[in-house]
């Protein structure tokens, strides 16, 4: 158990900040196999029997516990679809850290499609962190297509942090959420594409109950000849608050398409969208140069800050 080579360990560090075996519940998937798993008294991880994937059940009122479920792939040409379901019990307060790192040194495409469903109980609080990372010099593409479905019961809070900064050639990210009364969803997406990469991120958030609220914010940087599409829609079916924002820096020959969408089906649905795309302001670079940074260092500093 847990025999990982150096590349796999590096991927784990990138996607889950893991330097060793995590505390609490975890499942580490390496090249399609479980490389280690641990359940705890309150969090049970089991394998699905019909398809590849996990069921993670968190008991009601579990507090301050975490679940790590990183995936690493180092075999070129590997393709997998994984279905993970998470049941967060009433009143629980937990952190789930997922993430996928692909190192592809070969000439065949490597692909991981993770379909995650979250069933978040009444008044529960969930923080979900998902990082994607690709490396390897091979001509084979590194492809990640995460699908995320979130079902929030009354009064629950979900905070999602989605990060994809480097090395993923092609990604189609689809996130849907349905919120009952008083539920709250916060999404913070950070994305950087370079080379000839292609990234499409689609959100459909439906606010079904009174006082439900959603705040979906994406910050992204498109460099070289990469392309990004950010398509975020919020549907208000009750007195609710929804806000979506796409803030992007475009560089080189990058292209960005932002499609903010709002649908109000109730007179007291308050929905707002914002979208801004622009290059780095010259005055920002000049300011940092007066502090002693080269033009290139200034640019890196601005991007790092923007994606922080």
């Amino acid at each position: 158990m847990l025999k990982l080579d150096e590349i796999q360990k590096r991927l784990l560090r990138e996607v889950a900040d893991l330097h060793q075996v995590p505390e609490g519940a975890y499942n580490i998937r390496s090249n399609g196999q479980s490389a280690g798993r641990q359940s705890t008294a309150n969090i049970e991880i089991t394998s699905k029997t019909d398809v590849s994937g996990l069921e993670v059940r968190i008991k009601p009122f579990t507090k301050n516990e975490s679940v790590h479920i990183p995936v690493v792939m180092t075999e070129s040409g590997m393709k997998e679809v994984v279905y993970n379901d998470f049941y967060v019990g009433e009143g629980a307060d937990v952190v789930i850290v997922a993430g996928c790192g692909i190192d592809n040194c070969g000439n065949q495409d490597s692909q991981h499609d993770g379909i995650h469903r979250f069933f978040v109980g009444k008044n529960a609080k969930l923080k979900y962190v998902e990082k994607h990372y690709g490396s390897g010099e091979g001509s084979g593409k590194r492809i990640l297509n995460p699908g995320t479905e979130v079902y929030q019961e009354k009064g629950s809070t979900v905070e999602m942090e989605m990060v994809q900064i480097k090395g993923v050639d092609d990604t189609k990210r689809t996130t849907t959420a349905r919120l009952a009364a008083g539920a709250k969803l916060l999404v913070r997406e950070r994305l950087m594409t370079h080379g000839e990469q292609n990234a499409v991120s689609t959100y459909v958030v439906t606010l079904d109950g009174p006082d439900a609220s959603a705040d979906v914010v994406s910050r992204s940087v498109a460099r070289d000849k990469s392309f990004q599409k950010f398509d975020a829609k919020i549907v208000g079916n009750a007195p609710c608050h929804g806000h979506t924002e796409c803030d992007s820096i475009i560089m080189d020959e990058g292209r960005i398409l932002a499609v903010p969408g709002l649908e109000a089906n109730h007179v007291d649905a308050a929905l707002v969208h914002e979208a801004a795309i622009g290059k780095i302001a010259g005055e920002q670079i000049v300011k940092l140069m007066t502090l002693g940074l080269t033009e290139q260092e200034a640019e890196e500093q601005i991007i790092n800050g923007f994606l922080q």
């Binding site: 910050r219 803030d247 302001a281 005055e283 920002q284 000049v286 300011k287 940092l288 140069m289 007066t290 502090l291 002693g292 940074l293 080269t294 033009e295 200034a298 500093q301 601005i302 790092n304 800050g305 923007f306 994606l307 922080q308």
Partner: protein, 249 residues
Amino acid sequence: MLNVTNLSFSVTVDGKRRDIIRQVDLTVPDGKLVVITGPNGSGKSTLAKLIAGIETPTAGRVIFNGEDVTALPIHERARRGIAFAFQQPVRFKGIRVLDLIRIATGKSLSAADACEYLSAVGLCAREYIDREVNASLSGGELKRIEIATVLARGAGLSIFDEPEAGIDLWSFQNLIAVFQKMRANIQNSSILVISHQERILNIADEIVVLKDGAIDRQGPRQAILPTLTGTMDLGCHKQMNAQGGCAGC
């Protein structure tokens, strides 16, 4: 010590050449606070930018501590000890006050050490150190952070381009105290301030009056300041007192 000789800068607008700075000779000795003043459009800010390398002169030389830095880019001049505080500070999404101060010092300063620079400009350091330098900060707050980043540079020559612009009266009074403190602590360095403010002119060692891009007169404060009374500064001062801000400048 800064020496500017025969510095000129012109631009071409609609096919016509326009001289912004004309053959300026200027010396800022170590241990001195020099204020450049003059009417709007006289070229004060452009002169400051030429010294910092933000604009490139058409002719002339900029000598800093004996080295000709005329051809050096902004960051090379910065590394040699020229610091610049912008009239309108720049905002950054995601970059924190602490990050800017760290970049300014070139060290991975602790938050506690970085706080000293904020306290020096009258900001409650704990409230500001982790804040982003973004649109959530007011003009006065940004201005003080801008000055803190220049203090953090510990530079041989600190240039302030209209430090009073865009700040309220209360902040302005603190600003004067900051300059007085800086003035008391410059032995091997110097300060160059672009300003029309009488109270800043009052703490200058030397005053340079710029008019139409050329030096009209320069000398010790005692000699120059009386010649300015009743001209642009007083008007500006009245406006400031009446409105609590220096909007007209």
